[in-house]
């Protein structure tokens, strides 16, 4: 049996609102869908001591992240009655106010879409080998810590 090649979830730089709109519009032909649940991560201008975050520079152990994401996807499809699931995560620089994560689930009934997207976000945060370097306004940086 051929091993399925995992989808590439990574995009260089921020995720544009127009890209999100296109993703939504593409589902208009899937008339079995009753609800979409979308989560968007946006880079915050956090204050850290005397510094202000101006961007996050994301890096990843990509091959491992894609394999893991493939497992998460299969487990969520097994657990919930989903029609579609799309995930996009930025790599490289994403400035404050820009979107760095886009999780999009669709299902016949809203409960499945909502639970799956929320669970997917938690798993992405804890299980994907991705790191964020918070770049400060003036200079310097610190490595992001997920709470």
């Amino acid at each position: 049996m051929e091993k399925k090649v995992p989808k590439n979830i990574f995009r260089e730089g921020p995720i544009a609102p127009a890209f999100i709109a296109d993703s939504i519009a593409k589902h208009a032909t899937q008339t079995g869908i009753g609800g979409h649940s979308i989560f968007l991560g946006q880079v915050r201008a956090d204050q850290i001591d005397s510094h202000t975050v101006k961007a996050i520079d994301y890096s990843s152990h990509q091959e491992m992240a894609l394999e893991k994401m493939h497992v998460i996807r299969e487990e969520l499809f097994a657990k919930y009655d989903l029609t579609c699931m799309h995930v996009y995560h930025s790599l490289g620089m994403v400035r404050t106010g820009e979107i760095c994560l886009f999780v999009f689930t669709s299902a016949k009934h809203r409960a499945a879409a909502i639970s799956a997207s929320s669970e997917c976000v938690e798993r992405i945060k804890t299980e994907l080998p991705v790191w964020g370097k918070e770049i400060f306004e003036q200079d310097g940086y610190q490595w992001k810590i997920n709470s």
């Binding site: 991560g41 994301y58 890096s59 990843s60 152990h61 091959e63 491992m64 394999e67 893991k68 995560h89 760095c100 994560l101 976000v121 992405i124 945060k125 804890t126 299980e127 994907l128 080998p129 991705v130 790191w131 964020g132 370097k133 490595w143 992001k144 810590i145 997920n146």
Partner: protein
């Protein structure tokens, strides 16, 4: 022993001063850690996990030649 690449991510790249180093296959994950702690004493105070071929490794796991080894601090994506 074959030469192999060890990949570093996140804050470990600062600590090691590189994203990749080449070492001889140390044999097991425990021996790899011992070797890294000797080369980079600051790593003893750092929380990180080791993945072999994209899977989280256990302490006494054997390292086969040609494996992809990654040292990874806690994830902070999203």
């Amino acid at each position: 022993m074959k030469q192999m690449d060890i990949l570093f991510f996140g804050q470990l790249t600062d600590l090691v001063g590189a994203g990749t180093i080449q070492i001889e296959n140390p044999g097991t994950v425990d021996q790899l850690k011992k070797l890294l702690f000797e080369k980079y004493p600051a790593m003893t105070n750092t929380s990180f996990t080791i993945a072999i071929n994209n899977k989280l490794a256990v302490a006494d796991e054997e390292i086969t030649d040609g494996a992809t080894i990654a040292c990874m601090p806690p994830f902070s994506g999203g």
